[in-house]
């Protein structure tokens, strides 16, 4: 029974991913005019435009173009970028992506590893003592943090740690061979910004989820039979809140995509999001397509995990009638 629910959800995710690929393909092909000419720009001559047109398959029907693009993407061929066009026919996108993906993945994994334990603990703490000064402080400050722009947090951190104290660099120079303490110091600023951004959201939702569980009849029963408050939370409420909390965490990691774009730009962190911004500024459409596909795929996977957590943790959804 549970496998059927899993498979159904997996199917929905795959269909979503497919629809997303169609949307991105349409989106990037919205522009009127000749893509080959736009890519080549001032370097366009009738000869190399024709070569590029054939190479990109622009002489075919849009649907055929889409199918060719999709099958190439499936086989790991993401096309060629505008970069390095002067010399030949551009750099293969796969080569450009490798180090960028590693950098962004490293950053987000570290953010998750730091933010998740802290924010779940703080969210639980606030839920354990609702209405107290501690709870009000946490709720108020997290609400404020999610309502201010991402770049304000980053700017204030730069002002404090780079300009006033001079402890940390305000711009990230990654050579690729740093490790341990040096690496931590290099990426500390974007890391801190993203941890603050993501944890405030997770804290708020963990608190709301646990409080929601706390108002259920079995918790009332536990209170009436005299179970201590701490035991109620850690033994009854937390286990039932785990599913929703995992859901919250996955949703927030997905939501972090927007934050990553701004943060990588502000600290010039050499990640995937910065590559995409550069691609948008250069109008390097194949590269935009590739980056957008990767981000959307990660997003869809995280949403899938979020849904799975909800289904797996709830017996009623696990065994549908």
């Amino acid at each position: 029974m549970i496998w059927r629910a899993l498979l159904a959800r997996l199917g929905i995710s795959l269909v979503t991913l497919w629809v997303v690929s169609v949307l991105i393909f349409i989106g990037t092909n919205l522009l009127p005019g000749d893509v080959a000419q736009i890519i080549l720009g001032q370097m366009a001559t009738p000869e190399n435009t024709a070569v590029l047109r054939e190479k990109l398959g622009l002489d075919k029907h849009p649907v055929e173009q889409y199918l060719v693009w999709l099958s190439n993407v499936m086989m790991g061929d993401l096309g060629i970028s505008k970069a390095g066009l002067g010399a030949g026919l551009g750099t293969p996108i796969v080569e450009m992506l490798g180090p960028r993906i590693d950098n962004t993945a490293m950053l987000t994994v570290l953010v998750g590893a730091i933010a998740i334990p802290i924010s779940v603990a703080l969210g639980l703490l606030a839920a354990m003592h609702p209405g107290t000064r501690l709870d009000r402080t946490i709720t108020f400050s997290t609400l404020n943090i999610i309502s201010i722009p991402d770049f304000l947090i980053a700017t204030i951190l730069v002002l404090v740690f780079a300009v006033s104290l001079g402890w940390l660099p305000s711009i990230v120079y990654l050579r690729g061979d740093e490790s341990g303490w040096v690496l931590m110091k290099t990426i500390a600023m974007p890391l801190m910004t993203l941890v603050i951004l993501s944890s405030s959201q997770i804290i708020r939702m963990t608190r709301a989820t646990v409080l929601n569980v706390m108002s259920s009849p079995y918790v009332e029963m536990a209170i009436l039979k005299g179970v201590p408050r701490r035991r109620i939370i850690l033994r009854h409420a937390l286990f039932n809140a785990i599913g929703p909390i995992v859901n919250v965490i996955a949703l927030n990691l997905a939501w972090l995509v927007g934050g990553v774009v701004v943060v990588e730009q502000i600290f010039s962190y050499p990640g995937l999001a910065k590559l995409m911004i550069e691609a948008v500024q250069m109008r390097d459409m194949p590269l935009v397509q590739a980056c957008a596909m990767i981000f959307c795929a990660v997003y869809v996977v995280l949403i899938f995990i979020a849904d799975m957590a909800t289904i797996l943790s709830n017996p009623r959804l696990r065994h549908p009638k």
């Binding site: 997303v20 309502s147 991402d150 002002l159």
Partner: protein, 313 residues
Amino acid sequence: MSEQTNNTDQSFSFDELPDAPPKRKIKLSWPGKIGIAIVLFWSVIVVIGPTIAPYHEADILDEDLFIVPGSDEMYPDTEFQPPSKIVYLGSDYIGRDLLSRILYGARTTIGISVLATLLAYLIGVTAGIAASVGSRYLDMGLSRVNDALLSIPSIMFALVLIAALNSPGIFWLILITGFIYAASVFRIARSLGQEVMVSDFVEAAKVRGEGLWWIITREILPNIAMPLATDFGLRFVWVILFISSLSFLGLGVQPPMSDWGSMVKENLPGLVLGSYAPLMPAFAIASLTISVNMIVDDLSAATGGKLAKRMIS
């Protein structure tokens, strides 16, 4: 109240409608009151900002203005100057008055955000209500399209469209943002509309023979107005942050127009030089968004809605 009810009962006529339930009073907390004051302040600035600004937004100030009387320096720096009597909030990276740019920028940033949110509501609520009153197939079709749109992170969507349209103008910026945010409005409007559609009073109206238009305007819209108003505030905050982020990335409002997000970006190098120029517009955005959230917090406390739940979508 009870007397009137008795009267109508006895005469069996409806010449006098029963009293409406007493209006719920919205109690504002202190942060909420301050929030309203700040929102009113910025609304006034949107109207009169360019009039009271000491300089034009694109004016690069003359060096002569900065010459200190009695000093022999003929060519003083005009960039990243600290606040003074000439430039009340300091000058920016090419020597323009920061205060004037913030006052002008209020109109751009808030104007674009309000228009984009209104557009999102126009599309989202229309489609949402259509889905909740229309046929099963219409509902399914609209919902599937909406799910697909929601499964793309909004910033990615915007980046792809902006790349395709080649640094579009303000009109396209509003259109793109409104369209992207319409998806989440649709979801809320649809679920609220469905709740009302299955209620007894809509059933009664149908039995009475009221038309679809009557049900939409007299039953559905009044009943979903309050939760939608609360949501409008939140959505507006997201839109401001979204548009500011785009401008910050250099993909939103283009120079020489001033806009709070792009002002932060262009003045960022000044931070290392000890200038607070990038912080001022960022604080302007924060003051507005925090205020709106404080008001919404009070509103949703009054209507019993849970802010935390709404913040997910």
